[in-house]
Symmetry: C2
Amino acid sequence: MALAFLASRPGAFCSVREIVDDLKLPKRLLAEVLKDMSRATLVDATRGPGGGYRLAMDAKTLPLSRVVEVLEGPVSIADCGDGCSLQPSCLIQTGLTQVTASIRKVLDNMTVAELLEQTDTPAAKAILSV
Amino acid sequence: MALAFLASRPGAFCSVREIVDDLKLPKRLLAEVLKDMSRATLVDATRGPGGGYRLAMDAKTLPLSRVVEVLEGPVSIADCGDGCSLQPSCLIQTGLTQVTASIRKVLDNMTVAELLEQTDTPAAKAILSV
DNA sequence: ATAAAATAGCACCAAAATAGTGCCATACAA
DNA sequence: TTGTATGGCACTATTTTGGTGCTATTTTAT
């Protein structure tokens, strides 16, 4: 939600307060998340009055897969690595890998910009039009 | 894993003990899961000596989406219903719905039979060849 | 008949993941 | 130099999920 918000104000630095006021998110939590995204260079940050966050790239070049990776680690539906005790007898590891690849492709092929474009409710559009 | 196992023995009733011995799964847990699948008519069950479970349909006609629905409820990446307090200000609900639909399509288009076909490790193949 | 093999049901516990907070340090601009 | 804002990190709390205890009921081979 926050990235879509930033995408709607390209180039402008938006503070956590602004974002939270519009999107009704827990302030501290959003701050943590944006810190993570900043570390991952998904967003730029500036401090002090007038500071805040902005997308570090064009939203059209930011696939959801990248966002998911930053927030939750590698895209996968199961941890099928060597650490899994079931691996020796697992009949579906290879198949699940393929499913994961397909899902990853879905996330690769949708960007934050596209996510934002779909916004269609009046209340949401009102937020964007400010 | 269990459904792939059953798919490898079409028509035959397999007991929880047999499955667990081959797949090295916690017995009680698999029993719970198979009960759920039985209630959802994904598998047939028979009791008594020689009893067990078998797929209720051809594995080729059993998409993973159906399995996921039985085990985890409706396929979705977020609970965007009316119950969500963020809905009024959510910029991405519609977009996420589209992503969910795409992922659902992935799961619709892969069957338990296909999952099983991908099995390629020697140890796993040994289980199938018995 | 009856004992053994197996599922049915349901409550419960434990571990892991996730949502959310406390607290302080650091930077920046008016 | 003061107020605004991010940076970092540990911590708590809640939810979800993996897993268990126990008992009842059904089935079939002997």
